[in-house]
C-alpha cells in the first residue's frame, strides 16, 4: 500500500465518521418518537387480538354463547372451560360458566374463528394486570360480561332492563326496545 492510498484511506475513513456524527446530530434535534406509556397510551387497532371475551348481544344484553363447545375443541392449548344450561323456554343452551386459562392462551384466535354464533371476540385490553395468578389461570369471562351488562342496563330504558332479567318476555320487549349503544365499543 503506497503512502498516498494510505492517506486517502485514513481521510476517507475520517470523513465517514464525520458523516455518521452529522446523522446522529440531525436525529438528536428531532422530537422524540416514543410514547410515554403510563402517561400516554396508544389506541389499539380494530383487529387487535387481546384475550377473548364474550360478546354482549346489544339486543338482549346477554351473551350469544350457546355453550356448544366448538371453541373448546378448537383450542390448541386446552385453555377454555365452559358450561351451559338449557333454560326453560329457550331453544338453545346459554352459557353459565366460561373460564379462560390465560396463562396458557397463545392468542391464536382459533376459538373466535370457529364460533358459530359469534359469541366471542377479542378484547382490546392489553394491560391486564394482576398480582394474583388466579386471575389469569381462571379468567372468568362470564363475570367480565356481567360488568359490561351492568353498563348496558344503565343505558337502557327501565322496562327493557326489567325485561332483560325476565328472559321469557324478552322478544316482546325488544320489539319496542329503544336504540342501543353498542357496548362493545367501550372497553371497561
Amino acid at each position: 500500500m503506497s503512502l498516498s492510498t494510505a492517506i486517502r484511506d485514513v481521510a476517507g475513513g475520517f470523513k465517514s465518521l464525520l458523516v455518521g456524527m452529522r446523522i446522529t446530530l440531525g436525529q438528536a434535534i428531532k422530537p422524540s418518537i416514543t410514547v410515554q406509556y403510563p402517561h400516554q397510551t396508544l389506541k389499539m387497532p380494530a383487529r387487535f387480538r387481546g384475550h377473548v371475551k364474550l360478546v354482549l348481544d346489544p339486543e338482549t344484553g346477554k351473551s350469544r354463547c350457546t355453550a356448544c363447545g366448538l371453541c373448546v375443541k378448537a383450542c390448541p392449548s386446552d385453555c377454555i372451560e365452559l358450561d351451559g344450561i338449557k333454560r326453560e323456554g329457550e331453544k338453545k343452551k346459554s352459557v353459565t360458566e366460561y373460564e379462560l386459562d390465560f396463562t396458557k392462551c397463545s392468542l391464536c384466535g382459533s376459538c373466535v374463528d370457529v364460533c358459530p354464533s359469534d359469541a366471542i371476540e377479542y378484547s382490546k385490553d392489553y394491560n391486564v394486570v394482576s398480582l394474583n395468578r388466579e386471575d389469569f389461570s381462571h379468567m372468568d369471562l362470564v363475570k367480565r360480561l356481567e360488568a359490561e351488562a351492568e353498563i348496558w342496563r344503565k343505558h337502557h330504558p327501565p322496562q327493557a332492563a326489567a325485561v332483560a332479567t325476565t328472559p321469557v318476555t324478552a322478544p316482546a320487549a325488544l320489539a319496542t326496545g329503544a336504540k342501543t349503544p353498542s357496548p362493545g365499543q367501550k372497553a371497561p
Binding site: 446522529t24 436525529q27 434535534i29 416514543t34
Partner: protein, 334 residues
C-alpha cells in the same frame, strides 16, 4: 492576613471543592450521557425521577449503595476491594493542578502537566489489579487489553504533549493558558503558523484521550458484547459505582487537559471578559468536549482490538512524530 489565606485551610477548601466537583460531575454526567443517548436515539431518556429525571443520579446512587458488595470466593479480597479506590484517587489528584480560572487552582504547580500524566498512569494499574483480582476470565482478558491499549495510546499522547511543551515552553498549566490570551485564533489549536498540523495534533490528542479513558469507540476494556463488563464483571454495588465514577472523572480530567492545552483554558474567545467569567469559559469548553465524547459514543460501533492497536502504531504514532519534528523545525525557523 485573613484566615482564608492560610494555605492549609485553602487546600482543604479546594479538596472539598474538587471532591464535590468530581462527585457532581460523575453523577450528572451519567445523567447527561443517558439524556444525550436518549436525544440521539429520539427518546426522552430518564425522566421519571424528579423533574425531567434530575434526581435519577440520586436514585442510582441509592440503589448502588444499598447493594451488597459481593467478593467472589477465591479472589484476592484485599486487592479486589482496593482496586476501586486506586482508580478513583488519581483522578482526584489530577484535578488539583487544573486551573479553572486565572486564580482558581488548588496547587499551581510548576510541573502540573507532568503531575496529570504521572497520576493518570496509576489508573491502568488499578484497572489491571481489579481485573486480576476478580478471578474471572473475562476480567483478565479485559485487563490485558487495558494494558496494551493504554501503552499503545500513551505514546502518541505523550508525543503530542511534548509537541505542546515545545510550543509553550512550560509545564505550568496556568502559564500555558496565559500564552493563549487574546482572540480565539490565539488558541493553540488554531496556531497554524507554529505548526500547520495543529488541528491534526488536537484530533490526535482527542483520540488518544478517548482511548486512555476507555471510552467508546475504544472501550475494549468493557466491551459488553464480548467481555460482559470487562474488568468490572465481578463488581457490584458501590464497587462498580466507584469504577463508574472514576471513568467519568477521568473523562473530565482528559477534557480539562484538552481545553487547557488546545482551547485556551479559561480564556474567552473574544479577547475580553476572561477575568471573572474565566471559569465559565473553561466549563463551557470542557462540557462541549464532553458532549462530543458522549456524541461519539452513541454514534459509532466499537473498534476491533487489533485495528485499534494498528491505528495507534501505524497512524497516530508516525503522525504525532511528524508533527513533533515539524514543530521543532518551525520553531527553529521562526
Amino acid at each position: 492576613m485573613s484566615f482564608l489565606t492560610l494555605e492549609p485551610i485553602r487546600l482543604l477548601l479546594y479538596l472539598v471543592g474538587v471532591c464535590a466537583f468530581v462527585g457532581a460531575n460523575a453523577a450528572y454526567l451519567v445523567l447527561a450521557e443517558r439524556k444525550g443517548a436518549g436525544r440521539i436515539q429520539r427518546r426522552p431518556g430518564p425522566n421519571e425521577a424528579g423533574y425531567a429525571g434530575l434526581l435519577q443520579p440520586v436514585a442510582d446512587g441509592i440503589k448502588l449503595l444499598a447493594k451488597q458488595i459481593m467478593v467472589p470466593p477465591g479472589t484476592d479480597a484485599l486487592l479486589f476491594r482496593a482496586a476501586p479506590l486506586m482508580v478513583m484517587a488519581p483522578s482526584l489528584m489530577c484535578l488539583a493542578v487544573i486551573p479553572f480560572g486565572a486564580n482558581l487552582v488548588a496547587r499551581d504547580l510548576n510541573i502540573g502537566l507532568l503531575l496529570v500524566f504521572s497520576f493518570g498512569s496509576i489508573n491502568v494499574m488499578a484497572l489491571m489489579l481489579g481485573g486480576w483480582a476478580s478471578r474471572n476470565k473475562f476480567a483478565i482478558i479485559s485487563s490485558a487489553r487495558v494494558v496494551s491499549q493504554n501503552v499503545a495510546y500513551e505514546i502518541p499522547m505523550l508525543l503530542v504533549v511534548i509537541t505542546m511543551l515545545m510550543v509553550t515552553g512550560t509545564m505550568n498549566l496556568n502559564e500555558i493558558i496565559h500564552q493563549q490570551a487574546g482572540w480565539f485564533w490565539n488558541w493553540n489549536v488554531f496556531k497554524v503558523w507554529v505548526n500547520p498540523l495543529m488541528p491534526v495534533t488536537f484530533v490526535i490528542f482527542f483520540i488518544c484521550m478517548l482511548a486512555e479513558t476507555n471510552r467508546a469507540p475504544f472501550d475494549m476494556a468493557e466491551a459488553e458484547s464480548e467481555l460482559v463488563a470487562g474488568a468490572f464483571t465481578e463488581y457490584g454495588g458501590m464497587g462498580f459505582g466507584v469504577f463508574f465514577m472514576a471513568e467519568y472523572a477521568n473523562i473530565v480530567v482528559g477534557c480539562c487537559l484538552a481545553t487547557i492545552l488546545f482551547l485556551g483554558g479559561w480564556q474567552s474567545p473574544f479577547g475580553a471578559l476572561s477575568g471573572v467569567l474565566g471559569p465559565l469559559w473553561f466549563l463551557l469548553k470542557m462540557y462541549a468536549l464532553i458532549f462530543t465524547v458522549i456524541w461519539i459514543r452513541w454514534t459509532f460501533p466499537r473498534t476491533q482490538f487489533y485495528s485499534l492497536l494498528n491505528l495507534s502504531w501505524k497512524i497516530l504514532i508516525p503522525l504525532s512524530l511528524f508533527t513533533l519534528v515539524l514543530t521543532g523545525v518551525m520553531i527553529k525557523i521562526i
